[in-house]
């Protein structure tokens, strides 16, 4: 207990089995892959708007 990523114990190895250790691991993963590219898109769009002189 108290370990977020525990050793894999499921019967058939799966990437999703490793991710779905508990409610938080999957949530953190999904938020990471959604939010990080959003930050990247934000910076690109900001640069574009500045270049256009707005």
């Amino acid at each position: 207990m108290g370990v977020m990523i525990e050793p894999f114990v499921d019967i058939v190895p799966s990437f999703f089995g490793t991710l779905a250790q508990g409610p938080l691991t999957l949530t953190i993963f999904l938020h990471t892959v959604i939010v990080l590219p959003m930050i990247w898109i934000y910076k690109q769009e900001k640069a574009r708007l500045e270049q256009e002189g707005n």
């Binding site: 114990v9 019967i11 058939v12 999703f16 959604i34 590219p37 769009e45 707005n54």
Partner: protein
């Protein structure tokens, strides 16, 4: 002119939506193939070599199946043990076992078991969940269900009950006679035994905890 914010810029939200939609699509397709791999049926060689599969091959009916607590996974898992007689033989070959399971599956569909029972999460909760019925202690040597039918083995007791359910008072809601033949009953018992050997991540969740059930107190 006021400085335009990225948050009110249409292109930012379009690109974000495109990213999330695209990522979710890829994730769902990946999950579909991942699931296919998880539920592929094993074969006789896997059973002989001790290769664990979520869904074992049909010849699992030749083996004793127990339901044991897995400390790491924190729920019971079916454990395939030594050889065991099933309707008088323990050497059902792959073709025979597959044919028997197929007959049982067809019978379960023809008689619409799911109209009252639940199989692997599908069906109704009017009658007992059959996912792990084979492991129910009530059907074992010392159990009341086997004693009731007067048969000496679990499979014969179950087959006898399936052919004449209204003869045996089991439940407040008794099972009706469905005209199940001896062959169909045999197939259905094989189907139930195979189903109980499937690793369902501990589903149904309370099976091992209800009184009289496996590990029940």
């Amino acid at each position: 002119m006021a400085k335009k914010s990225v948050w009110s810029d249409n292109r930012f939200w379009q690109r974000t939506a495109a990213w999330i939609t695209g990522f979710a699509s890829v994730l769902l397709i990946w999950l579909t193939f991942d699931t296919s791999g998880q539920i592929v049926m094993g074969n006789d060689a896997d059973l002989q070599n001790g290769v664990t599969k979520r869904v074992p091959g049909p010849t699992v009916i030749n083996y004793k199946i127990t339901y044991e607590m897995d400390a790491k996974r924190k729920h019971e898992v079916p454990v395939i043990g030594e050889k065991e007689m099933f309707f008088g033989k323990d050497d059902w070959n792959e073709e025979e076992a597959a044919a028997l399971l197929h007959l049982g599956k067809l019978a379960s569909q023809t008689k619409n078991c799911m109209n009252c029972h639940t199989l692997l999460g599908n069906g109704a909760y009017y009658a007992p969940d059959l996912t792990k019925a084979w492991l129910d202690p009530a059907w074992q040597e010392t159990g009341p269900m086997q004693a009731m039918t007067g048969k000496s083995t679990k499979e014969e007791a179950m087959a006898e009950f399936l052919q004449n359910p209204s003869k045996y008072p089991t439940h407040a809601r008794m099972m009706p006679n469905l005209g199940i033949t001896a062959d169909e009953a045999k197939g259905l018992v094989a189907f139930l035994k195979h189903m109980s050997s499937i690793d369902t991540n501990g589903f149904p969740r309370n099976f091992g905890k209800i009184q009289g059930a496996v590990n029940g107190k």
